[in-house]
Amino acid sequence: MDGLSLNEIYESIQLTARDKFDIRTVTLGVEILSCIGGTIKETNELIRKRIVSLAKDLNHKADKVSDEYGVPIINKRITLTPAALVLANLFKNDRERDLKICLEYARNLDAIADELKIDFIGGYGALVENGVTYADKMIIESLPEVLSKTNKVCAFINVASTKAGINMDVVARLGQIILDTANQSKQAIGCAKLVVFANAVNDNPFMAGGFHGVTGKDSVINVGISGPGVVRSTVANLPKDLPLEELANEIKKTAFKITRAGELIGRRVAKELRVKFGSVDLSLAPTTQVGDSVGEVLELIGLETVGTHGTTAALALLTDAVKKGGIMASANIGGLSGAFIPVSEDKFLSDAVKKKCLTLDKLEALTAICSVGLDMVAIPGSTRTTTISAIIADEMAIGVMNHKTTAVRLIPVPGKRAGQYVAWGGLLGGAYIIEVHKEKADVFVWRKGQIPPPLTSFKN
């Protein structure tokens, strides 16, 4: 048995049984530029054929591998080439007609997701950090209708990068788009399927922001592991007075193990589907289940309630240790790789918002050192569109200046005030509405234009 001891095997089994270790998502990225036909109907059919031919066994094969290795694979998903690139050739500079094409395209993706029994299909989006093409504009304008009339289509807009700066024209418009989306969908759920990015990556396996980048392969399997429960167990079993560098080392060892498992399983699913293996995303991704919370890990490190002073430092230690352990484990680390802090999907974070210990300002500070950003944050339905845009701009600035990916998934919930609760159920969980500043940023936002890239981007 390769010298494996009873204890090693027992502990490995316990990671899934006791600590809820699972593969959060196996995501198949598919290039679909090659499917562009003369009409939207033809294009949709070519896309359907291509995706179905590659992904028809995704569920079945993932389940088979999951059984063989004893590690559950929770979600199977698909990411596609950004929609603005796919649809550009089909638009005819006729707004009404072209918005209909957008909806037709998205409904086709929704139907494909249903047919393949997958929960989300991503890539409905555009990369606009340098400026907006007509096709990009149509995609952005179509978001409220597409996100409220489809169930499984996920959207992204990359509005900023360290190289280009921040496209404030789009940021200003997105404040309105997000509010429109909230008003058009039940309990604003459409907004949970839209991520606004700075420095978006091409191989993100997680939804809602995942898309298949144009610099990648024809098709690829990327894997997102989940492990807050495993790290929670590691930290909980260590003495309360263990020095932080030793605590970090123990987290590294745990991250090593789960990354190894993630890579093994990802490679095997890729082999079964006869597509290339891409990367493992190390991000600690919490779920609404008890014992699977990043917030709880931070509290176990020694904070009374997550969000209090010390939270940023504790999250820095956690994120860094997870990365170091994961990078030792695999040469194929990619995606976002950090720690997710999706407020509605993490019970401890959600409770801390209720106690008003975790505020929007503190969440923003945390995003400077974790992997994503303001994720699944519910705000009052009466929030000004310019305030939404300003929150996005702040978050983009953190990403741009720090050469990292940041993202915003804000949900202004119509009719709800700060402190009230909104329940979406399922994977999305529920959240207390977080307070936003009342003071306006209207003049700043409506200046529009481009926030120039930082000096550090001129390295050539």
């Binding site: 048995m1 390769d2 494996l4 009873l6 204890n7 090693e8 095997i9 027992y10 490995s12 089994i13 990671l15 088979k64 059984d67 063989e68 290795y69 004893g70 590690v71 193990k257 789960i258 190894r260 498992a261 890579e263 093994l264 030792m328």
Partner: protein, 98 residues
Amino acid sequence: MKKAEQTKSELPIITVIGEDKPGIVAQVSTMLWKKNVNIEELNQGVIKGKFFMIMAVDLGKSSVSFEVLSRELKALGQKIGLDISLYNQQIFTAMNRI
């Protein structure tokens, strides 16, 4: 995994966890014997107060597939009140060896 090519470090592993009681080894090994599954290595002990046994098994001469054996072991486990599972050994090696 082609059956004929399996080396010792690639053999599937059966794990058994539960309350210690007489006849566990006998019941599991009888079932494996009936299916012509060879036990190549066996190790058992008590971990955190529970009986824990691991077996590396060779399915090379057996007509039963990994999936079928896995299902039948789970069923046997339910019958005799133990958690019995079959794993591809690679998962343990990957997680515990650099």
